[in-house]
Symmetry: C2
Amino acid sequence: MSKRIVVVGGDAAGMSAASQAKRRGGADVEVIALERGRHTSYAACGIPYWVGGDVADAESLVARSPEAHRANGIDVRMATEALEVDLAGSVVVARGPSGAERIGYDELVLATGAHPVRPPLPGIDSAGVYGVATLDDGQALTGGLAGLRPDAGADRGRAVVVGGGYIGIEMAEALRKRGLAVTLVDALDEPMTTLDPDMGALVHRAMETMGIQVRTATAVTGILTDASGRARAVATADGEIPADLVVLGIGVRPTSELATRAGLAVGPSGGIRTDLRMRVVGQEHVWAAGDCVESFDRVSTSWVHVPLGTHANKQGRVVGINLTGGYATFPGVVRTAVSKVCDLEIARTGLREVDAAAAGFAHVAVTVRSTTRAGYYPGAAPVTVKMLAERGSGRLLGVQIVGREGSAKRIDACAVALWNRMTVEEMTGLDLGYAPPFSPVWDPVLIAARKAVDALAAAR
Amino acid sequence: MSKRIVVVGGDAAGMSAASQAKRRGGADVEVIALERGRHTSYAACGIPYWVGGDVADAESLVARSPEAHRANGIDVRMATEALEVDLAGSVVVARGPSGAERIGYDELVLATGAHPVRPPLPGIDSAGVYGVATLDDGQALTGGLAGLRPDAGADRGRAVVVGGGYIGIEMAEALRKRGLAVTLVDALDEPMTTLDPDMGALVHRAMETMGIQVRTATAVTGILTDASGRARAVATADGEIPADLVVLGIGVRPTSELATRAGLAVGPSGGIRTDLRMRVVGQEHVWAAGDCVESFDRVSTSWVHVPLGTHANKQGRVVGINLTGGYATFPGVVRTAVSKVCDLEIARTGLREVDAAAAGFAHVAVTVRSTTRAGYYPGAAPVTVKMLAERGSGRLLGVQIVGREGSAKRIDACAVALWNRMTVEEMTGLDLGYAPPFSPVWDPVLIAARKAVDALAAAR
């Protein structure tokens, strides 16, 4: 008899696990995937580009449709929500189009994703307030946009984005490109909160240049509604900001209620805890992957919630291999992230100053300005690199990069250095690619490493 | 009394050493730098862009002039050639504008650079045959260009580039941009000989698309001259190729005659051999850096000649630190190189298949095609990644990348992985930056690593 694998969640992690298991297991495995929404295997990270008009439609963001998965032998059940997991009985209770059912499993994979944070503020659930975690969220938002004055040019309407993380900033840009007057509000001192504030200030300036109003250090106290109950303004400690449309970009939290109710291990972030093979801690036949889990941060040696499609895909693949007699591990993250906003490329890996302090590291930090290409080569543009190293050991702790085209993917070399626990002294010798169209003769990353070495010597 | 440091060679390596020593040593050191040409601290790697018109003039390629170095306290002597080194007497014999002189030293730095290979063919030294190693070479070539029909549009003249390495290809493109009909000739089967032939074939096609004639597998037998002794054609086994201008892009060799005559250690490539601190092997007070030395290849564990400005700068800095009571090493290279030709970005690190075999590695090689951005994101363009791994251990041995914008600097992550002796299995977990404008959700490098893991399993 074949082994039955039940996957809860039909996006990146779940369908990577399902696909890998079916490909490897063939007729030896029966794979059932439950998805409560209307899409499978889609790129939620592409939603800002869809909203902004760079991507034509939702379908473009779908990597593999339910039909395509079915053609590969996976029993995909759409509009089907898992309600309970009965661990003792190895059964999932689900409700689909034809009612509730109990589905027995030999192996269970939880890939329930994440959902936008909705702080408990008055009016937060009003009509006209949108999240951006799923394609259905994106559909609702583009629908809301269509309802504004479609051809009014620069006066189509007013959008307020709550939250200055990368999703909030990407959405602010997207809405600006669609002709709205956009205000971004955040309680912190600078936007792009994945960076230290001094680097975030560079993003702040770029956003203002693009005509986005940025209200920092401003706490949102509620959403004000009109007589019909529709959002009409965002209330803050400094007054109201009128809004035809409100987007929540505060971040996401793991969707782990199903796991919690079943008594599975969940960390402080709300993410499910797994071992290196992505097996849920303390369980023999339950696995988890994607935005609903915590990942091991190799630098701070703590467990963190890092909802990114790239981790979801890797973790899903690891689960699929382990479910079918193979051996694979997800060795953790170093918190690399890149984004593009207002012609600025933004990247980070490892720890910010606040993270380093929280992890107990004493550190030095240096910031250098250089150019993306040799200074004499056409198109050479500014790039700023901030680098953190541990005092004493000199070990690299983190890098942040903000600059024009050709800046962001420079973070990858730093991420691999971090992964391998290199010191900044060792990094000064790295053999990075040099040619005038790609780099000054000293790559900006190497200049930063040299400065960090000097700072370490001064801090002795 | 202050220590006297004599530096032979005023380009990247020599002046990095001189500058670092003077900055650190101050009044404790006297630094004399001898340069036989007319420029200091210039970017020879920028010559193709100057010839092609992307860079306005030679001065743009000069990072620091003799005057600027003098203002920093360095005694720069231009048009001064070192003729002999008397190791026993610690004296350099030099000839400058005011005749020959003997200059005593406490520490000697050899940074004599490299010169274009001129195979011993009939006519190779004729007028109209140009190298591209120094700014003076570049000046001669742009002078030669100016002598052609300046405003004849597509019919300005005919150039033949001998040699299909990256310099030859960059020069072919530059001359094409200046309106010449360009033919590139090489004895090997594919151009871009820093890559394996299958990857070179991608470059071959791009060059033809740009209107460059590529004659591979064609041995050059000589340069034919007119009555005045000026080059008029390149002779090959397959007939003559008419030429108004011939450019040698066969590569360069270390300029180490001075060292050889003094009895210093020189390797098979002709490059001076040093220890990790860049001290010449067997010498107490003689150092060497830049295009005139051999570097340790960390992957093949052999000594190789890799003439690149980035190494020259690093090695010069290491010498300057060691000369002034500090401690620094040049830990070797992994043979990373990037270039841009005809809208193609080209990169390599580590070993090609032929290098792996020569080093005694048994290997697997895989090639994947992916895109530079998420498939749905505007501007997603093809990129091809080839990856080599050692059979058995699975250790990464080398990577080659050819693709459109956003391809080449992906090599840096591979170079750092190689530096740290990662296996391709370990690489599949790497936390590289992902966002739709920069990468598919599986970075092309990670896809290649996964395929390499599969190939290793199949090769067991």
